[in-house]
C-alpha cells in the first residue's frame, strides 16, 4: 500500500468507526483523532516531499503508485503528488482538522454528520492524490454529493433550496467535465487515463477547442466562475459551519486545481486561444464578487461573495499562464482556503451565539467576545491582503505574475483585478466596524460567552496557518513553483 493512499484510507476508516460510535463523546474523540492523524500525516508527507526533492528526485510526481483497475478503459488507481498537491493536502488537513473542532457540538445526528463529513474528506483527499483522470473525476464527484445532505440536514435558512441548487449546479459542472474527460481520453489515443502520460501526447487542437472550455467551465463552476457562481452565496449561507469551511476552504479549490491540472496542462493550445474569454469572465468574477459583497447584510453572503472574488483571482491567475501568476494562484488557493475557513468558522461561532447573521442586528461584539472579535479582525486583515498574513503573499504574487503579460488587454485586466483589493477593504472594514465595534446592539448579546476550548483550537490552528503562510511564504512558494514548471513549460511550448 502506498503512503499516499493513507489519506483516503483514514477518512474511510473514520467512516467505519463512526458507524460503530454511539455516544457523542466517542464520536468527537474519533473525529478529532482522525483529524489529527491527517494533519500529522500531511506534515510527514511534506517533510518527505522536501526530503525527496532535496535528494535530487526530479520526477514530476513523487510517491507514485499505480494499480490497474479497469483494464478495458485503462483506468488505474494511480497516485502521486507534486508540490501543488502537497500544498493542497496540507490545506485540506488543516481545514478538516479545524472543521472537526468547529462541529464539536453539531446537532442533531452527530454521527451521520461525521459520516458524510468523512466521505466528503475522502473525496477531496482522493482528488488531490490521484493522477488518473477517471479516479480524479470519481473522487471529485464523491466530494460533491455529501454536500447535499450536509447542507440539507444540518443547514439553516432556505437550506433545501440552497442544497439542491448547489448540488445541481455542481453536477452540471461535472457533466461538462465528464464530456471533456472522455474527449481527452479518446483524443489522446484512448489508451491511457494517466495525466502524465496524456500530457506527453498531443491532443489535436480542433478537439481541444471544444474540450478545453468544457473542462475549464466544468471546474470553473466549482471555482465560482462568473456566471456559474450563484450556488455559492446561497450554499454557503445555508451550510453548517464545518461544511462552509470545507466547501469554501477546500472544495472550491478543487475547481482551481482541476482547471490547471487538467484543462491547462493537457490542452495548452486551446488554453492560449481561449484564455481571453475566461480571463474576462474571471475578471468580472473578481470585481463583481467584491462589489456584491459591499452591500450584503448577511455575514455569510458577504463572505460568499468575497469567495467569488478571491476564487475568481485564482482562475484569473491560472489563465495568465506564467510561472509567477500560477504560483500565485496556488498560493491564493491556500490563502483563501485558510482565511475563508477561518471566516466561516467564526461566523458559525458568532451565529451560534447571537442567532443572527445580519450585520444590522449586531454590534459591539468585540467587547463581549474578544477572542472571536480579534480573530475576526485577523481573518479580515488576511482577506484584505495585509502583509504578514496569507492574502498579501498570494495576491502580490498573482499581480506581479499577471503583470508579466505585456499586452494592453492583460494589463488592463490586471489593474482591474488589482483594484479589488480596495473594494475588499471596504466590505471587510464595513463588517468589522458594524459587528465588532460600536455599541452593543442587542442587550441579550451582552450575556454571551466567548469561544469554548474546541472553538479556540479550531480558530487558533487556522490563524497559525494563515500567519505561517503569510510570514514565511518562501518554502511553500518554492515548492509550488518548482512543481508548476512542467505545466508552464508545456504552456510555453504551445504558443
Amino acid at each position: 500500500m502506498n503512503f499516499l493512499s493513507i489519506f483516503v484510507l483514514i477518512p474511510i476508516l473514520m467512516l467505519v468507526a463512526m458507524y460503530f460510535a454511539r455516544k457523542r463523546s466517542q464520536i468527537n474523540i474519533i473525529a478529532a483523532l482522525g483529524g489529527t492523524a491527517l494533519l500529522i500525516m500531511s506534515g510527514i508527507l511534506t517533510w518527505m516531499y522536501f526530503g525527496e526533492r532535496a535528494a535530487g528526485n526530479e520526477d514530476i510526481m513523487l510517491f507514485r503508485a499505480d494499480m490497474l483497475w479497469y483494464e478495458a478503459f485503462n483506468i488505474h488507481y494511480s497516485v502521486g503528488v507534486d508540490g501543488v498537491s502537497v500544498a493542497m493536502l496540507l490545506l485540506t488537513s488543516v481545514i478538516v482538522f479545524t472543521g472537526v473542532f468547529a462541529s464539536w457540538r453539531i446537532d442533531p445526528l452527530p454521527r451521520e454528520f461525521f459520516l458524510w463529513f468523512w466521505l466528503l474528506s475522502a473525496g477531496v483527499y482522493g482528488f488531490f492524490i490521484t493522477i488518473d483522470l477517471f479516479s480524479m473525476f470519481m473522487f471529485y464527484e464523491i466530494a460533491l454529493i455529501p454536500m447535499y445532505l450536509l447542507i440539507g440536514i444540518w443547514g439553516t435558512g432556505k437550506k433545501e433550496y440552497s442544497a439542491m441548487k448547489l448540488t445541481l449546479m455542481l453536477m452540471g459542472g461535472s457533466a461538462l467535465l465528464l464530456v471533456s474527460i472522455l474527449g481527452i481520453y479518446y483524443f489522446a489515443g484512448g489508451d491511457t487515463m494517466n495525466l502524465l502520460e496524456i500530457a506527453q501526447r498531443n491532443i489535436p487542437v480542433e478537439a481541444q477547442r471544444y474540450l478545453f472550455p468544457l473542462a475549464f467551465m466544468g471546474f470553473g463552476v466549482l471555482g465560482a466562475l462568473f456566471p456559474f457562481h450563484t450556488w455559492s452565496p446561497d450554499g454557503h449561507a445555508s451550510a453548517p459551519t464545518a461544511v462552509s469551511m470545507l466547501h469554501a476552504g477546500v472544495l472550491m479549490k478543487l475547481g482551481g486545481y482541476g482547471a490547471f491540472r487538467v484543462a491547462m496542462y493537457l490542452m495548452p493550445e486551446a488554453a492560449h486561444e481561449q484564455a481571453w474569454i475566461f480571463l474576462i469572465l474571471t475578471g468580472i468574477s473578481v470585481i463583481y464578487g467584491a462589489f456584491s459583497a459591499v452591500v450584503q447584510t448577511d455575514l455569510k453572503y458577504i463572505n460568499a461573495y468575497s469567495s467569488v472574488s478571491h476564487c475568481g483571482l485564482v482562475l484569473f491567475a491560472i489563465l495568465m499562464m506564467n510561472e509567477t501568476a500560477m504560483t500565485g494562484a496556488v498560493m491564493q488557493m491556500l490563502s483563501h482556503g485558510l482565511m475563508t475557513a477561518l471566516f466561516f468558522a467564526l461566523i458559525g461561532m458568532i451565529y451560534g451565539r447571537t442567532h443572527t447573521r445580519l450585520i444590522t442586528e449586531m454590534g459591539g461584539l468585540m467587547k463581549i467576545m474578544p477572542f472571536l472579535g480579534v480573530s475576526y479582525v485577523i481573518a479580515g486583515m488576511a482577506s484584505l491582503g495585509l502583509p504578514g498574513l496569507s492574502g498579501f503573499v498570494a495576491e502580490m504574487t498573482i499581480f506581479v505574475g499577471a503583470f508579466q503579460e505585456t499586452d494592453t488587454f492583460h494589463r488592463v485586466l490586471t489593474i482591474v483585478a488589482a483594484s479589488s483589493i480596495v473594494i475588499t477593504a471596504v466590505y471587510i472594514l464595513r463588517v468589522v466596524g458594524k459587528i465588532l465595534y460600536g455599541k452593543i446592539q442587542d442587550p441579550h448579546h451582552a450575556e454571551l460567552n466567548d469561544a469554548t476550548w474546541w472553538e479556540r483550537v479550531s480558530v487558533v490552528t487556522l490563524i497559525i496557518a494563515v500567519v505561517a503562510l503569510g510570514s514565511v511564504p518562501f518554502w511553500i512558494s518554492d515548492m509550488i513553483q518548482n512543481s508548476l514548471m512542467p505545466v508552464v513549460n508545456k504552456l510555453m511550448a504551445a504558443i
Partner: protein, 472 residues
Amino acid sequence: MNYSAFLQLHDELSLLAVIVIILIYDIFASEKGARYIQPLSIVLLTVHTVLNAFPRADFEVAGGMYQYYPMLTYIKTILNAGTIILFLQADKWLRDDSVIIRRGEFYFLTLCTLLGLYLMMSAGHFLLFFIGIETASIPMATLVAFNKYNHKSAEAGAKFILSTVFASGISLYGISMIYGAAGTLYFDDLALLITNSPIYIMAMVFFAIGLFFKISLVPFHLWTPDVYEGAPTGITGYLSVVSKGSAVFVLFTIFTKVFANLTAEWQPILYGLIVISITLANIFAIRQKNIKRFMAYSSISQAGYLLLGVISASATGMSSLVYYILVYLFSNLAIFGVISVIEHRTGKVNINDYNGLYQTNPRLSAVMMFALFSLAGIPPFAGFFSKFFIFAAATEQGYYVLVFIALINTVISLYYYLLIVKAMFLNKSDQPVERITTDLPARISLVLCLIMIVFAGLLSSIYQQISALSFI
C-alpha cells in the same frame, strides 16, 4: 436431425425443469405443504442460477435458430439474480390473504416470463424471437393483473396486454415484411441479405417497435407509468429491470447482428429516441407524486442511457451495456424492495409519505438513498461506473453531443432522485411511516442489492469478466 443437440440448451431446460417442478408441486401439494412452495421456488431458482452461471463455448441448435455465445450466460445470470431478488421481495406479499392461494401461479408465471426472455435472447431466428417475446409478454400481463380484486391492477393488466399486443402486431408485420423481402428469417442469413432499401428500413422500424415498446422508449412508453403504478410492486420491479434489460440486450444483438448493414440508418433513430426518451422522461418524472409512477419515468430515462450502449454498437458498448443492466437491476430492485416493504406494511406509495422516513427507518432509507444515488450515477456506487462506461462507449464512437445531452439530463435526474432523498432525510412529517421490521427474505434481498451497489463498481473484476466476453 440430431435431437440430442437440444440437450445443449442447459439454461432453458433447467429453467423448464424448475417450472415444471413448481407447477406440479403447486398442483399436488397438500394445504400444509403448499407453504413450502415459496422457499422451494427460491432455492430451485438459485440452484438453477448457480448451475448455469458458467459460460460455455459457442454453439448453435436447430440450424442456427437457437444460438449460444458466452455473454448470454452472463446476461441470463443477471436476469436470474433479478428474479431471485424479486422472489425474496415478494415473499411477504405472497403470504397475504388476497393472493396466498395463487402464490404458486406467481412463481410459475414469473419463471415462464423468464423462460420467454431466455428464448428471446438466444434466438437466431425471428420465429424463436417472436415466440420468446410473446412467452414473456403474456404471462407478464397476468402478473400485472395479479391482484385480482384490485381495480388498478386489473386496469394495468388490460392496458398492458392491449398495448403490448398492439405493439407486437406491428412488430410482427415488420417481420413479415422482412420475410417477404429476404425470404429467410435466420439472423445469420439476414445479416448478409439486408440492404439499404426502404422496405428493409421500414421492416426494421416496424419490427423494432416491439422492442422499443418493451424498453419503453418515448413515444412507446405511454403504457409504462400506468402499468407500473397499477401492477403489484414486485412485478413493477421485474418489468423495469428484467424485462427491460433483456429487451435492450436483444435490441443490441439484433441491431448489430441482423441490421448491421443498416447501422447508418438505425443509429440516428436511436439518437433521436435517446434524446427524447431521457429528456421527456426526466421532465415527466419531476412532477410525479406516486413513487411507483415516478420510478416508471425514472426507468424510461434509464432506458435512454441503456441505449447509449446500443448506439455505440461496439464491443465496449456491449460490455458497458451488460454491466449497466447489472447495476441498474440491482439499484432499481433495491428501490422497489424498499417501496414494496413500505407499501405492504402501510399501503403508502406517495412520495410525501416518505417524509421523515429516516427518523423511523434509518436502514431502509439508507438503502433507498444509496440505490437512488447509484441510479443517479454518484460515486462510489456502482451506478457511477456503469454510467461512465456507457458514456465512454458512446464517446468512443464520437457521440459527444449525445453524451453531453445525456449528462445534462443526469443533472435533472439527480434533481428528482434527490427529491426522494430530501423527503426521507430532510422533510419532517407528522405521521411518518411507522417503524418497520423487515422480513428476512426481503432483508436478504436488500443486503444483496446493497452489496452489489457498493462493490460492483469498486471491484473491477465483474466488469472485466463481462468485457472479456463482449464482441461485435
